[in-house]
Symmetry: C2
Subunit: 343 residues, 2 copies
């Protein structure tokens, strides 16, 4: 029994054995398909109900299809996946429960708001890295219509949106992690604390989440003894234009300049001028589909050697918001590196 430990610094981990991200898939709605990353997604559905009766069932179908595609690419069957680490934004995780039950795979249900893509990848990597499984899946989803209904107003109300508001991405990203060698390796994680800076505006999630991202990035760099330029990209989940500016400024105050390497999935996924998406995209699905469609291919072919992927979440519900509570944030970071499959 090894007595070595794998925690480093204040909030980070490395793994006892190598963890590879061997396959992924992205399924999105019509609007995401019309955006700048459109050609990179695996599946774009013109019908945002995905053939289902309700928005919630549509979101469940997103998850089901994303996992099916990720398994198909790696020629892996459900019975070869030991655990699912999955979550979504809806109350009681119903998109996940109803989307994944047919696979009959042991499930760890997660909730980290829009940081769930980072949380699920972290726990999945910890699981494979410990020798608890050969292959596991991490997946998350969000859907514009089910999220509007859950958090704001049903679409039929046609309420107006401030420019600081983000646009919930309709999409699901699924990832298979394995002890089997692949072209992308997960080499560490940094797990976030809740950060509450007193933001009360649920229409300005970027501002609510940026302080959590700033704290986490600073801690990550300290834990690993790295600088921002040790990464080809430092990628946040869905801070949008408003949150990006706050993040960069908060880190400058800590003498850390990430402006040369920072990108945000919420900014990349839509063309804000042509698509009217306000501050950018958001939702668990935003960072997940952008990682799968945009960043992983570049890590696979070696054009990126190492990125830091940091989905960010705003921890509110309509109940907490209506009761006057703040909107605290959280962020979870995953280090992804190019690996040579054949050594």
């Amino acid at each position: 029994m090894s007595k070595e430990c794998y925690y480093i610094g204040e909030q980070s981990l490395i793994f006892p054995r190598d963890v590879y991200l061997i396959s992924s898939a992205s399924v999105v709605g019509k609007k995401e398909g019309e955006g700048p990353l459109g050609s990179a997604f695996d599946m774009i559905c013109d019908d945002d109900k995905f053939g289902e009766d309700t928005w919630e069932q549509a979101e469940s179908t997103l998850q089901k299809e994303a996992l099916a595609l990720a398994m198909g690419k790696a020629d892996i069957k459900p019975e070869n996946i030991r655990y699912l680490f999955a979550g979504d934004l809806l109350g009681q995780n119903i998109a996940t429960s109803f989307g994944l039950m047919d696979y009959e795979i042991p499930l760890f249900g997660l909730y980290g708001a829009c940081s769930t893509a980072g949380e699920s990848l972290s726990l999945a990597a910890m699981c494979v890295g410990a020798g608890y499984a050969k292959t596991v899946a991490a997946l998350t989803s969000s859907h514009f219509a089910s999220a509007e209904k859950q958090f704001r107003y049903p679409l039929e109300y046609a309420n107006q949106r401030p420019v600081s508001a983000t646009w919930t991405v309709t999409g699901s990203g699924a990832f298979l992690l394995s002890a089997k060698r692949g072209n992308v390796r997960i080499t560490g994680v940094t797990t976030g604390k809740i950060v509450d800076m007193g933001i009360k505006d649920s229409m300005n999630m970027g501002a609510a989440m940026a302080p959590a991202a700033a704290d986490l990035i600073a801690q990550h760099l300290e834990d690993f003894g790295r600088t921002p330029l040790d990464y080809d990209k430092i990628v946040t989940g869905d801070l949008g234009y408003v949150g990006q500016e706050i993040l960069i400024n908060l880190l400058k105050r800590k003498k850390t300049d990430i402006s040369k390497v920072h990108e945000d999935c919420g900014i990349l996924i839509y063309d804000k001028d042509k698509q009217g998406t306000g501050s950018g995209g958001s939702g668990c699905g935003c960072s997940a589909v952008t990682l799968s469609a945009h960043y992983l291919p570049k890590l696979e072919d070696g054009s990126f050697k190492r990125i830091l992927f940091i989905p960010t979440g705003a921890l509110l519900s309509t109940v907490s918001f209506n009761e006057g509570q703040n909107v605290p944030g959280i962020a979870h970071a995953v280090v992804l590196e190019h690996a040579d499959k054949e050594v």
Copy 2:
């Protein structure tokens, strides 16, 4: 780097290094304090709002106090806890987020409905067992009034309840898991799949969850090569009277008789005749406070050598229920054994 693997059978795990449950605490409301286990709880609050303005804040306070007590018993400070694994029943886990943020400990937010006590203990044990942390905390909560508001009707409606309905426990149980030797050891986990038997009655959660518990117990015994009598007790979370009967019958069909050793936290926590609690107690807090107050002392002093603890969850929301979806169930099992602290 060890290449040994730790998964056994179809759905179970053991750990590379020993994991101990070194401290726990239970905080409950007035009704639970008046029940059969009343004298065993660490804290009973006569005011079910726990001095707060809302039911949700009251539930947050439950978690905060339970963790404070568990830390106090072990003389451990928040900065010595590497991770929190926590969740609750409310949409977007707000009881957890607002209850635990002041501790500033990295958080993995979980959702497994009333199985969350099992999910959080499983992931926490996997984390310590892998050498990812010296000490972590697992905790869950539920609150009768916040749950009624979330899932059924606000209390002011005074709606009637069928006898199959369970009574959501107001309570939180917190557990500290550590690599440091203690009197109770976690020696394995079995992680559940979602099981949907077509139940549609949200007032009969016991029937919805019993099939998931039956499948999990059968799989656990097969994975570990054990019989029911290898356990002093096989303890489900909150099946209640209705669910217990279904569970025992389902397992008899699989040629497994657990009737001699089965107990259910939902049955133990209230006196159904005196307290009018229908089929029994339920909620994430039900199994957590019963484990802490009733079972752990018996494992610590050696009167029980080994128990199987299986919190059970019903994966529904008001949205899924109103849209006519079934109420699927899930269950997660944890093996707890007496250990001699001094060897």
